[in-house]
Structure formats: C-alpha cells, structure tokens
C-alpha cells in the first residue's frame, strides 16, 4: 500500500510539473570602456513556452535584459513602469547624455542624479524596448548615458552600441547555460 501511495505522489508531482520549455534569446556585440578599449559583450534573456499541467497554453518572457561585458561586471536592464527596460543609476553617478524622441543620443551638461534614474536604454529601430519588443533577427542598440568619475569602470563609454541580430535557442532548464561575453 505504501508503494502505491509513493507512486501516486510521484505521478502527481510529474503531472503538476507540466511541459514548459525554456528558451534563451541573445545578441552579441562590442562596447568601449572609458579609456577606449573595445570589449566583446552580449545581452541575453529567457522565455517560458509550453503548456501548464492543466493543459493551458503558457508563455512568459523575463522582464530583464542582462548585459555581460568581457572582464567587467554585468548590468541588468530592468523593466520600468513605462514598458521598456532601463539601466538604473547608482550612487554618485552623473548623466552626461540623453536619448531624444528620435532615438538619438545627445550630450548634456553633467548632472548628478538620484539612484534609480535611467543610465542606459535598449533601442530597436530608434524606439525604447523591453524583452517583448525584441524578436529574432532584430538588432538592438545598447545606449549608455552616465559616467562616474570615482568609478570609471562602472559603465562603458557613453555612446550607442549596435549589436548583432537576436538569436533564440531552446536550452536545458537544469543546466541553464548563459552566454560567454568573451567568446
């Protein structure tokens, strides 16, 4: 009897786990450091696709886009209340550029900003986007707008960087590989 109870519990667990696959989106490119060194970089994010255990169709994109730069700390572009991702400023950052309505980067006098203000954006065809605005083969532009004199390594040099086309691939949800920025 105990064996049947254990089998029932195992079956219930397997059923509840459903059938959802994990996909990884990524785009490769390069960014420049403050002192002009070119570094390889990659942005990535994930998506669930499949059916829940009660057979309802389910799709969900992650809300963040993560940037990895070879030999530097990664950066998280997080979804804001306006529906696009931005890189939030940190302590003592100064904004020295901004993106206008046409999607162009324009310089501005250095302005010390409060933590959490936008220091980076991701554009596609000149428009601010989130993960739901980037489909395979689109080429995102990663824009940086801030610098920090006491931490010159914090951000790439202020500029817009056009990355290669977005690719998508199913990945092992147990291993969860993430892209190597130094490939």
């Amino acid at each position: 009897m105990n064996r049947w109870k254990a089998l029932l519990l195992l079956t219930a667990s397997l059923v509840m786990s459903g059938c959802v696959s994990l996909y990884q989106y990524q785009a490769e490119g390069e960014v420049a450091t403050e002192d002009g060194e070119q570094r390889k970089a990659v942005v990535y994010w994930h998506k669930d696709e499949g059916r829940l255990w009660y057979f309802r169709r389910y799709e969900q994109l992650e809300s963040d886009i993560t940037l990895r730069v070879c030999g530097a700390t990664p950066k998280t572009f997080a979804l804001n209340d306006n529906g696009y991702v931005e890189l939030a400023s940190k302590s003592n950052d100064a904004r020295i550029a901004s993106v206008n309505a046409a999607g162009e980067l324009v310089t501005q006098p250095p302005e010390r900003i409060r933590q959490g203000e936008p220091c980076g954006l991701i554009l596609a065809a000149g428009h601010r986007v989130g993960t739901d605005g980037l489909s395979p083969d689109q080429r995102p532009e990663i824009v940086f707008m801030c610098k920090n004199d006491s931490r010159p390594d914090r951000y790439p040099k202020v500029a817009g960087y056009r990355f290669g086309p977005v690719s998508r691939a199913k990945i092992d949800k147990d291993i969860r590989p993430a892209p190597d920025p130094c490939r």
Binding site: V20, D48, W53, Q60, D81, G83, I113, G116
Partner: protein, 279 residues
C-alpha cells in the same frame, strides 16, 4: 565602524520554510555557487563570503511540544507520523511569522546580530532572502533603520545593509486563515535625509510560483509589466522612504513548487548580485 567597500563583501542568505534541521539547509551554498558562476563566466575575480542565517532549529525547538503530540497520536503508523511531523514543521514556521511570537522575535534578533557582526567588521552586506525568509529580512532591515546610529542619510558607509534581494517571496500575499493574518503588510521605515542614495530592494519572482501567487495549483499570478503582488503592495510606499523596489519576472521552465526552488540556478540573478556587490 563604517563600511569599508574595499573589504570582501558579505552575502547573508536567509532561508525559507523547510522541514528538517539547520544542517539540511543549502541556500548559502547555492547563492555562493551562483555568484561564483557569474564571476567565472564574466571573467572577473572578486572576494566575498556567502553565509546562511539558519533559524530552523529555533523553529523546531518551539514546535517540539506539538510534534510530540503528533507522534503520540500516530504511534501505530510511522508514515502518517512522518507526514504529520512535516506538516507541523512547515505550518508552524508560517504561523510563527504571522503571530509575531517570541520565537519570531528570537529569529529576528539573531538575524540582526548576524548583519551587525559583518557591519562591525566593516564588510558591506547584501541580504538575500528566499520565501518566508523575506519576511524576517524586511522586518530586521526596518528595525535597523529606526536606530539612529545606522542609515545616516546618503552616507552608505553607515548602512549595515547595502541591498536586499527577495526571491519567491510571499510578501505580496494578504491572506487570512482562521482569523490570523498571514504575511500582514509591513510598514517600510524611511531612511531620513537620503537625497541621492536609495536602499535597493530587488524582488525576483516566477509567475508560476505558488508561494508568490497564493495559488495552490500554481496558476500564473497576474502582473502589470514587472509589477507583481509585492510591487503592487509595496511600490507606492517605498520610494517616499528612500527605498528602490525593482520587480524582476523570471522564468525557469519549471512550474508549481519546482518554480519556487528554481531561482538558485538563474544566471540573471547571479549577474545582478555581482552588479549589486561590485558594479
């Protein structure tokens, strides 16, 4: 003593509901692995410590009386006895938090002391709290903010905690069971005179995590962009208190309770922790 940001960072990991003992808890090792993986994959080297704040044994001591009753009732059936012991363990952990018992106070006191131990040795601290642990983490950080010697405006070296990461947190749930309010909304205390610096609170959640949604069958929780239950409940109150709450929807290819335990292998969480500590 003020925080020295050149010293190795300390990550204090607060576990959630678990049946078992302190020795069974691996959350600190899991976070250590996640951060080490991010460092290695980004080709950078940094020094840090990841330590768990373990309180399951404190909970178990408080529940010992009820477990003995359970054993007496089920003495003829070991399987049922074990199941009942597990239920007492898990439910007891939740009730302890909800009813603000002396056990809950002891747990909070222990966590506060662990944080201040790192602060006294001048190491910066980021707290990572999973599931029920996020309740204790929020409560302790709030308590520290009320003490005049800490969190002095924009001077981050006076902040015993530099940031909070909650994962699979039930803080967004407003449940009431048998007249007991479970996960009652916490007041977020304000960091006075902080004009430029905010206390970062990153909340990671999977829409299929039943601890996040309160859905026993793991139905996806409703969201508005990255705003889930925690962001909806706490968002309006945190900015005025000089906190900065970021909601992060994550996915894992897993559902139900498997989603609740899948955060430990998410590379984006590891990358964000590295950015919080050294970015």
């Amino acid at each position: 003593m003020p925080v020295d940001f050149r010293k190795p960072a300390h990550v204090i990991v607060v576990h959630g509901v678990i049946s078992g003992e302190d020795d069974d808890i691996e959350s600190a090792q899991q976070i250590r692995s996640l951060i080490n993986r991010s460092l290695a994959e980004n080709h950078i080297e940094k020094e840090f410590q990841s330590e768990g704040y373990l309180y399951e044994d404190i909970n178990d001591d408080a529940q010992e009386f009820y477990k003995r009753i359970g054993k007496a009732i089920t003495s003829g059936n070991p399987l049922v006895g074990k199941a009942l012991e597990t239920v007492v363990d898990l439910v007891g952990d939740v009730v302890t938090t909800a009813k603000n018992t002396s056990t809950a106070k002891a747990i909070r006191q222990g966590l506060q002391e662990k944080i201040l131990e790192s602060y006294r040795s001048q190491n910066q601290v980021v707290v990572v709290a999973h599931s029920l642990g996020s309740i204790y983490a929020i409560d302790v950080i709030n308590e520290l903010i009320t003490k005049a010697r800490y969190f002095k405006g924009d001077d981050r070296s006076s902040w015993p905690v530099q940031g909070l990461v909650t994962i699979g947190s039930p803080l967004g749930l407003g449940l009431e069971i048998a007249g007991v309010k479970i996960f009652e909304k916490r007041k977020i205390n304000s960091i006075e005179n902080a004009e430029f610096n905010l206390l970062s609170w990153h909340n990671y959640y999977n829409r299929l995590d039943p601890i996040v949604s309160g859905s026993l069958f793991g139905a996806p929780v409703a969201t508005d962009g990255a705003k889930g239950p925690v962001e909806s409940r706490y968002g309006p109150s945190v900015l005025g208190a000089s906190w900065l709450l970021h909601g992060h929807v994550v996915v894992s290819g897993a559902q139900w309770l498997f989603a609740h335990t899948s955060y430990w292998s998410n590379p984006a969480l590891g990358d964000n922790l590295v950015d919080m500590l050294w970015g």
